[in-house]
């Protein structure tokens, strides 16, 4: 399988990465090189094989459903590019 220019633009948008039209052909070539490389997996007979979900067999631990930290709003917003009164500021989302 290989991707066309329209697919490259669609994937860029799904990835939330702005791509200039001028950069699409180069990106298309690189993505197709990678997709061509992974194509060889089609040679493998995977019938009846379970997909891997956990590489180390272990039972996932559960913790008590309790608050274990908090009251650190200032630390949480400390690195935000825009914040006000412990809120993250973003462009208007709802008209």
């Amino acid at each position: 399988m290989s991707v066309d220019a329209a697919t490259v633009k669609r994937v860029a948008h799904l990835s939330r990465i702005a791509v200039d039209d001028a950069d699409v052909p180069k990106l298309q070539g690189e993505l197709n090189a990678i997709l061509g490389f992974v194509e060889q997996l089609n040679e493998v007979d995977v019938s009846g094989v379970e997909p891997m979900t956990s590489v180390t067999p272990m039972v996932m631990k559960k913790r008590q459903d309790v608050v274990n930290d908090g009251e650190i709003a200032d630390e949480i917003v400390a690195n935000a590019p825009a914040s006000e009164d412990d809120y993250f500021m973003v462009p208007k989302v709802i008209e």
Binding site: M1, V3, T7, V8, V11, A12, H13, L14, S15, R16, I17, A18, V19, L27, E30, L31, A33, I34, L35, F37, V38, E39, Q40, L41, N42, E43, V44, V46, V49, E50, P51, M52, T53, S54, V55, T56, M58, M60, K61, R63, I72, E75, I76, V77, A78, N79, A80, P81, A82, F88, V90, P91, K92, V93
Partner: protein, 504 residues
């Protein structure tokens, strides 16, 4: 007085205990070496005041006889580990000036045990790369030079000539250890990022079993593959480092609740009677003759030390790299969704929130990271998920079964080359085809796919005078056997310290 930066970690530890020098003296020697090596670009942030404060505290503890296992030993920290109050960027523009209000579990355990932080080390952006060329801070210079090369210290502190890459993604860690800019360093390995740079710089690097070290506070790349581990000057040094780095952490649900052995005790243990597997699938067509000869040399060394050599088959090996380039980008595309310009890091303005996201991520991520996010998004997208992602995860099961089958036959460890070549020149690989760069990890990536431990140990020099490494792959949570075997190779091959400080 001897040059304190030339000591190994364990020699320095013993020297501190014997009061031959102080932690402050040891730290000052390293700070000076780091300052003189800025042209190598191994450190992206130096923290000398922080280091001296920790060293002073260590000297007090040493005087009181309360020294921890790493007391007063100066280390470098890969910039993927969150360090409280100290800028952490994963060498990406998108993290900008991120200053974590928390400390990664692994680094916190190093400080608990008395270690000193010299600064943050360069790496490929978000650990995506095999040459350290994708870093937003620029490439790292390998302290090794080809025989007769034109590389040298130029005017105004720059490096002149066509230098070599140190490998990646932990290129800063490997270069800093090789150039005596720290006694040991933390690193991370998703497809070979500890073992390949170790092999390129004549240092030792171990990727432990998945779950052995906590991933909490380490910038995530591909969560089912990422593991932290050390790069050091000797096998023994990495054993000491790993003991401090490993251990259960309730904040990482994939971290395993098993006691951490005293790894140093396994260094020097007899390997008599151990069964070492030699996988025939690793004899790639067109394999570099020098690498092949080194591999044979490794076989001879282990046999001479009493090991039994057994040819084995890992039939799905050739599919590990293509499966990796589906699984790792898929996980990366999900993990890196968090860089949205809202909570931390870079923000570019847009007309609406979607344009803000798109412009921020376009400006903040480098080319390789964008490629991988897009591949990951594509293979997870509706209509392609089964053909790519699900198939790759099934192949991953087969790769793991290959190893389980040979370990069930009584194989204790597997010996392979660490890399298909020695260090290459900057700009030499991957500029037109990204896959050319990916092939660097052909021998290391199976280990991540199967969650196993793997160690790279320097074993010789090639005809250009550059170091080459061998890799040993162990059973899950049997890092001790790797340290015992690694020590045999180190004793047989000798160590490969960089001689001249040509960059200073």
């Amino acid at each position: 007085m001897t040059d304190l930066t030339r000591l190994t970690l364990t020699e320095a530890r013993d020297g501190l205990k014997a009061k031959q020098f102080s932690a402050t003296e040891l730290t000052k020697a390293h700070i000076a070496a780091v300052e003189q090596a800025r042209a190598l670009n191994a450190y992206v942030l130096e923290t000398p005041e922080h280091a001296l404060k920790q060293a002073a505290a260590s000297d007090e503890k040493l005087a009181r006889g309360e020294a921890g296992p790493l007391e007063g030993l100066p280390l470098g920290i890969k910039d993927l580990f969150a360090t409280e109050g100290v800028r952490t960027t994963a060498c990406s523009r998108i993290l900008g000036n991120f200053v974590p209000p928390y400390e990664s579990t692994v680094s916190s355990q190093l400080w608990r045990d008395g270690a000193v932080m010299l600064g943050k080390l360069n790496n490929d952006e978000f650990a995506m790369g095999s040459s350290n060329e994708t870093s937003a801070f620029g490439p790292v210079v390998n302290p090794w030079r080809r025989q007769g090369s034109n590389v040298g210290a130029g005017a105004a502190g720059a490096i002149e000539g066509n230098h070599l890459v140190p490998g990646g993604s932990s290129g800063g860690s490997a270069a800093a250890v090789a150039a005596h800019l720290c006694l040991a360093a933390t690193a991370t390995d998703t497809g070979g990022s500890i073992r390949q740079p170790a092999a390129f710089t004549g240092t030792v690097g171990i990727k432990p079993t998945y779950g052995r070290c906590s991933r909490w506070g380490i910038v995530a790349f591909a969560s089912s593959l990422d593991q932290a581990g050390p790069i050091g000057k000797t096998v023994r040094d990495t054993a000491v480092m790993l003991r401090s780095m490993a251990g259960h952490d309730p904040r990482d649900t994939t971290s395993v609740d098993r006691a951490v052995p005293d790894y140093e005790a396994s260094v020097g243990r007899s390997i008599k009677g151990m069964r070492i597997g030699i996988p025939k699938e690793y004899r790639l067509e067109g394999l570099n003759a020098e690498i092949d000869a080194l591999w044979q040399q490794g076989i001879d060394w282990l046999r001479a030390a009493g090991a039994e050599i057994v040819e084995i088959s890992l039939p799905h090996s050739k599919y590990a790299l293509p499966a990796y380039y589906i699984v790792a980008p898929a996980e990366a595309s999900s993990n890196l969704a968090r860089y949205d310009g809202v909570r931390y890091g870079l923000r570019e303005q847009g007309r609406d929130i979607i344009e803000m996201y798109e412009k921020t991520r376009a400006a903040g991520f480098g080319a390789e990271v964008k490629r991988r996010i897009m591949i990951g998004t594509y293979v997870l997208s509706s209509g392609y998920y089964d053909a790519y992602y699900l198939r790759a995860q099934k192949v991953r099961t087969l790769i793991k079964r290959d190893f389980e089958a040979v370990y069930d036959q009584g194989i204790d460890a597997v010996l392979t080359p660490a890399t298909p070549s020695s260090a290459f020149g900057i700009g030499e690989k991957g500029s037109s085809d990204p896959v050319e760069m990916y092939l660097n990890d052909v021998f290391t990536v199976t280990v991540n796919m199967a969650g196993l431990p793997g160690i790279a140990v320097p074993a010789g020099l090639d005809s250009q005078g550059l170091p080459l490494g061998l890799q040993l792959i162990g059973r899950p949570f049997d890092e001790e056997t790797l340290f015992s075997l690694g020590q045999v190779i180190e004793e047989a091959a000798g160590r490969f310290p960089v001689g001249e400080r040509w960059w200073a």
